[in-house]
């Protein structure tokens, strides 16, 4: 049973989630006594590919082509499909990122393989891989087994640990795929970066502001706190709907699902739809002047008080700590 890890890169840099997926696959590979190989796709990715050795992967395939600089659903899925067939791979691991979630179902049909999507835990029971995934926006979990011969697992970002890379390097092998024009039927022509901003979906620390901040200008206070922590700024739906903050910052059921190591909710009430997006964070801090606010039910640490007093003081205190 051979395992393939699709290691996602953008701009010739691995995503942190690529390492998380490598680590999880290696762990499972050890338990199943299976070889784990990597795959990196892009314009010229040979240089970075050997890095995966630092996470325990001995052999990495690369597929390089100038046309693969940007993501293409059709081309990337053709490549992964071919390597799985040629190398007799039975299990594919990828990240449940925007790219991984786009690829997994296409590969599911091509390979006739079931997909366990957005998994938060993997274990082996009676020799079978059991994946746990959140459903109903985290209000419940389901344990599933994939019954098809080939299996695909996409792992939720920020849940599995990436670990620290060793100095090992992996053997890098070019994998030849003949790409036809039709393989580029769907292709990204431009990536519009939101101005250097940290994205909540990838951040390790998030500071979220809610409607209790009263005016959009008051988010400056939230931004300063976020800066002091190197954190991303998040928003509740109430402030996004009011036009104070862009939709890509929204956390929750109809926004993004996040699981950072620290989530600070400021003047956010903690409606179920908000909790749905963030309750799996490792540590949650709530700052709210209403002691009955439901956010306190999920918080590890809380301060019942006025955000306008507490946030500047907290920012100062953190800056002090960081300057030591």
């Amino acid at each position: 049973m051979k395992i393939l890890v699709f290691a996602e890169q953008r701009e010739n840099q691995f995503k942190k989630t690529a390492f998380e997926v490598c680590n999880a696959a290696i762990k499972l590979g050890l338990e199943l006594n299976s070889e784990v190989v990597g795959l990196v796709v892009g314009e010229s990715v040979s240089q970075i590919a050997s890095k995966l050795g630092g996470f325990g992967i001995k052999k990495v395939f690369v597929v390089e082509d100038p046309r693969l600089k940007n993501y293409s659903t059709s081309a990337y899925s053709t490549i992964i499909n071919q390597i799985i067939e040629k190398e007799s791979i039975s299990i594919l691991f990828l990240s449940a990122s925007a790219m991984g979630k786009d690829l997994a179902p296409c590969l599911s049909v091509k390979l006739n393989a079931g997909v366990a999507s957005d998994c938060t835990q993997l274990k082996i029971e009676d020799g079978k891989i059991i994946a746990t995934r959140p459903i109903f926006a985290g209000k419940s979990f389901v344990d599933v087994e994939i019954t098809s011969d080939k299996k695909i697992f996409s792992l939720r970002p920020n849940v599995f640990t990436a670990g620290i890379a060793s100095n090992e390097t992996a053997e890098v092998l070019k994998f030849e795929v003949e790409l036809l024009e039709k393989d580029f039927s769907t292709i990204v022509t431009e990536v519009k970066q939101s101005t250097n901003k940290k994205d909540v979906a990838e951040a390790d620390i998030i500071v979220t502001g809610g409607r209790g901040l009263k005016e959009p200008e008051n988010f400056l206070m939230i931004e300063k706190l976020a800066d002091s922590l190197g954190a991303a700024v998040g928003a509740s739906r109430a402030v996004v709907d009011a036009g104070w903050r862009p939709h890509d910052e929204q956390v929750g059921q109809t926004g993004k699902t996040v699981s950072p190591s620290l989530y600070i909710a400021v003047a956010v009430s903690g409606a179920v739809q908000h909790l749905a997006g963030m309750s799996s964070s490792k540590y949650i801090v709530a700052i709210n002047k209403d002691k009955e606010a439901p956010i306190f039910n999920v918080a590890d640490y809380g301060i019942i008080g006025d955000a306008f007093e507490i946030i500047p003081a907290l920012t100062d205190e953190i800056n002090k700590l960081k300057s030591h």
């Binding site: 995503k15 659903t73 059709s74 899925s77 990122s97 979630k101 786009d102 690829l103 997994a104 179902p105 296409c106 599911s108 049909v109 091509k110 079931g114 999507s117 957005d118 959140p134 459903i135 985290g138 419940s140 979990f141 389901v142 344990d143 599933v144 087994e145 019954t147 098809s148 769907t186 292709i187 990204v188 022509t189 431009e190 990536v191 519009k192 970066q193 990838e202 059921q253 109809t254 190591s261 739809q273 799996s280 490792k282 540590y283 949650i284 801090v285 306190f296 039910n297 999920v298 918080a299 640490y301 809380g302 301060i303 008080g305 006025d306 007093e309 507490i310 907290l314 953190i318 700590l321």
Partner: protein, 248 residues
């Protein structure tokens, strides 16, 4: 142009999820079902596509008779026809997508709209599955869409920004919030929807690839610490985050 929109019937977001006694499904007692929130955006975009190119919008759902309620809502928003692929079996996304794509092979639309994800099983798979079954193109999590002739330019959300995607018809699009402002059903729409028929057809059969072993509830967090009621608590909070939680 023939346009197909697929919709799901799901528990309301505020529903308390209780696990049924079989341990592999949810207890539907007292659960209020609604049109999957992302499917509002899919329906709206389908209606806008029709307004631009002419043609008709057919709305389709796979499930039991309860799904008719959701199909009726889609009709009241302005969809022309509705089909219920009647099926009471337990299906995974793969098997649902197979049946929907078999139906698409009969109806022969040029574009299919689905929602970004169902808010019950949060699978986000339908778009890619249906497209690949049909050997069509697909773009997921779309927030902007422009169709000119057979050319499709879409913008999709990714981490830290957007991707502009170039593709072509026939295509499956998954709609994300921000793509449009869904219209509300008008009184006239509601009246008319009552007269529009909902066709029933059997759903094509396909074996599942996912077996549900058990469901569980998240372990409740032991109640957190309230550190204080004012600014004096700040120092202690920072100490705890640094020394106890070790997250800063």
């Amino acid at each position: 142009m023939k346009i197909l929109v697929c919709v799901n019937h799901v528990p309301d977001t505020t529903t308390k999820v209780n696990i049924a006694s079989d341990n592999i499904s949810i207890d539907q007692n007292g659960v209020n079902f609604i049109l999957n929130p992302y499917d509002d955006y899919a329906i709206e975009e389908a209606l806008k596509t029709k307004e631009k190119f002419g043609g008709e919008v057919l709305v389709c759902s796979l499930g039991g008779d309860q799904h008719k309620e959701t199909l009726r809502k889609a009709l009241s928003m302005g969809c022309d026809k509705a089909v219920l692929l009647k099926d009471l079996s337990v299906r995974d996304s793969f098997s649902i997508a197979f049946a929907l794509s078999e139906f698409a092979k009969e109806y022969l639309p040029e574009i299919i709209y689905v929602g970004k994800q169902s808010i019950d099983y949060d699978d986000s798979q339908m778009c890619g599955l249906i497209a690949t079954f049909l050997n069509w193109q697909s773009v997921t999590v779309v927030v902007k869409l422009n169709i000119e002739g057979s050319k499709v330019i879409a913008e999709r959300e990714i981490e830290g920004g957007h991707e502009v995607v170039s593709s072509s018809l026939p295509i499956v699009i998954s709609a994300q919030k921000g793509l449009n402002e869904p219209r509300y059903p008008t009184l006239k729409g509601i009246m008319e929807s009552k007269r529009k028929p909902i066709d029933e057809k059997p759903a094509a059969i396909c074996e599942n690839k996912i077996l549900v072993k058990k469901m569980s509830k998240p372990t409740a967090k032991s109640k957190g610490k309230i550190i204080g009621n004012d600014i004096s608590a700040v120092k202690e909070l920072v100490r705890l985050l640094h020394e106890e939680a070790k997250v800063i």
